[in-house]
Symmetry: C2
Subunit: 434 residues, 2 copies
């Protein structure tokens, strides 16, 4: 069989990983596919010393690759959303299949891109866009296709997980670990994308769409970052039997689909609570299979490249054999407009840290407010402080409560004279059976 | 599009799970596939009260299903290897695709079955044969297709993991937990298949073939069960920082492929060391992606049914669109005859428990023998015993050693006058980076 011709647009971290895998494992991959995969053109603004491209045609204009008649599959690894979108649409217009690792592009412009691809009869695959090398897109679109998915909880940002793990294991401050992560190259100079949850929200958008068969709706994700988490919160959570992880959560509820990214207390003995460092993991609850978990590297040149090449292999296995790739872009032939639930309407448990002036009756006032909002308490920790004038932390874990009721309760507690600092609130999920 | 017609052969645990998923989730599955999946015939010796088959055609002769011209896909869920093989070959002969959950059938007769299927241009899918509902076959054949797989370690027998977990958590004896597992329905009346590792060996055979692209070679698996593990071993391992798990292990070594099932000490902080109860998990090390782990229920009606239905969905997505399923039976278009390494030639670390008469110099004699076989020691625990005449346990952890050298050392130590009981030996793997 004729070889499959790939055009590589972008030769940064993931581009070089993809190039090196295709080169080093060419024989093994050909054994799997039954035909060779040939890199027929590379589009990159500059060379990357990590790749020996001397045997390849290199262009400085990536749009050459989208127009190259020899190219069967355009691999978009330039990142960003404006040029990348133009490039992908140009490749589709030219009848090429597309493989991309670009989560922002799919989360923000996927509906338009998939629709363009469908009308040209080509495919856009994006395994590398979520959780790096973990084949989670394939698991959801194919491996768990028997299931009505109930909920998904994922550690889908390695930088955030690295920071929380260091804070947990060494009692360090957020800002201190962030600097180290920047030095190690885990975090960008502007870390907002990672630590404020935007990157995770991109990935969660994609996960929710293929889990439930709904359109991509990045703007509907409720997003809260980890920058306000303190070593004290991590320590109190630990004493109560929990770890704090930054989770992307999506759930099918009675009123609609929950879509939220926020720090979350989870029971220590859950497997996902023990996923540490830069590693990612996605826990999926299906109605038939029960809980399943997928763990691996969420970033890195070859880990992400592994997912890019898996998509190339998927396409190479069908190119010229069938008209269409057999799996619909979002795993469902038609999406449904199930509403996204406003975060006010979700039910979840809560961890509260309330720093108060030590006066008799403060705890009683707080619990009275909670009880008036129908919020029942699971546990209370009141820490002794042996220093004159210092605030005393009261830690409260609640049972499940409507977010709106919790907001009201927090406003009322915040208004008490004894409460001087802003109350810390972290959601808590039991993630039962997983 | 015309509906896809499925013939269900077998209506036991997995058969009823499959039936109930296809019935309950019919709408969701049709949304995923773009056509409906219809159960056109059921072959079962008797009805199953868990399924309402009143709307379906039921035959007592399962071979009717293999011959039924209306059936596109035969789903073999009768178990066993003789009638099941005949049934599957008959379906293939009649031009039907086959989905099976039968690990013994694939591990022992897969080469013949796949060859028959290839010559008739039909497919045999078997996701449910390994690790129940976890989509590990798909992950290896497709999701990780970019990688040269280095090694795989799996907890792939739920019964064995349940027993070891109970022993670990409650200090119970093997035989005591086994009885409970039998009462709970986790273990068969004859538990040999599970506790002696034969079931795990079937699954490991399949995993190794699709990881490395080698023929199925069940007879080549080295298999050791868990029946000799004592609560004391679990306790000593714990003190040294390890858990004992029953693992299926396969690795690409210089001399060939390792294929082995045996109890194994693994560091406590590895994620897979924390997979408990009846749950399964498979840890895969690829050269590009690094370590990835897949966790979920390894057995049960709907967990296994989830994998069966995923295979049906895979076939339904291509039926009538293309000639062939695009993924080769073992994930590689051609297998290679890489030799299987004899267990004598593997390198691994060891845990030894040697019960000795308390006499000065015994430990020195033992360490001398080890050192003469070039075995270096990582840790020694010598337990005090305060009872006259009782044997004293000496626990030794070694560094990596050639199995043959360890066998020689054990023979020599066993021959010492002070060593009266049979020496306990358990292999130890660090499973680095996972």
């Amino acid at each position: 069989m004729k070889s499959v011709n790939v055009g590589l647009a972008g030769l940064g971290t993931v581009g070089s990983g993809t190039f090196n895998i295709l080169t080093r494992n060419a024989t093994e991959i050909e054994r799997r596919v039954g035909r060779s995969i040939h890199i027929s053109q590379i589009g990159a603004r500059r060379d990357n010393p990590a790749c020996d491209t001397s045997q390849h045609q290199v262009t400085r204009d990536i749009f050459d690759v989208a127009k190259n008649p020899d190219v069967d599959i355009l691999v978009e690894l330039i990142g960003g959303t404006s040029v990348a979108k133009e490039l992908v649409l140009s490749a589709i217009e030219n009848g090429k299949h597309v493989v991309t690792a670009n989560k922002a592009l799919i989360a923000e412009h996927g509906n338009e891109i998939f629709s363009a691809a469908a009308s040209k009869g080509v495919n856009v695959l994006y395994e590398a866009a979520v959780a790096g090398g973990i084949p989670i897109i394939k698991a959801l679109r194919e491996g768990l296709a028997a299931n009505r998915i109930e909920w998904i909880a994922g550690i889908i940002n390695g930088t955030g997980n690295f920071i929380l793990t260091e804070m947990q294991e060494k009692g360090r401050e957020f800002s201190d670990v962030l600097s180290e992560a920047q030095d190690l190259g885990y975090a960008e100079a502007d870390p907002t994308f990672d630590v404020e949850g935007i990157d995770a929200a991109h990935k969660l958008t994609i996960i929710a769409s293929i889990a439930f068969g709904i359109p991509l709706q990045f703007d509907a994700v409720f997003t809260e970052g980890i920058s306000k988490i303190t070593p004290a919160d991590i320590e109190y959570a630990d004493q109560l039997g929990y770890r704090i992880k930054h989770l992307g959560l999506t759930r099918r509820s009675a009123g609609g689909i929950e879509l939220r990214v926020h720090p979350t207390l989870i029971p220590k003995n859950r497997l996902i609570a023990n996923v540490n460092g830069v590693m990612n993991a996605v826990l999926v609850k299906g109605d038939a299979v029960g809980p399943t978990l997928y763990y691996g590297a969420g970033a890195g040149d070859e880990a992400t490249g592994s997912a890019v090449v898996a998509d190339i292999v998927d396409l190479a296995r069908i190119l010229g054999c069938a008209q269409d790739h057999n799996v619909p872009a979002l795993g469902f032939v038609k999406t449904e407009n199930t509403p996204i639930l406003s975060v006010d309407l979700i039910y979840t448990c809560y961890y509260l840290r309330i720093e108060v002036q030590e006066r008799p009756g403060v705890l009683a006032e707080i619990t009275k407010i909670l009880s008036e909002q129908n919020i029942s308490i699971e546990a209370v920790l009141q820490k002794e402080v042996h220093q004159e004038g210092r605030l005393i932390p009261i830690i409260i874990l609640t049972h499940r409560v409507l977010e709106k009721d919790m907001n009201d309760a927090i406003s009322k507690i915040q208004a008490l004279d004894e409460v001087e600092q802003e109350i810390t609130r972290i959601r808590l999920e039991h993630l039962d059976a997983g």
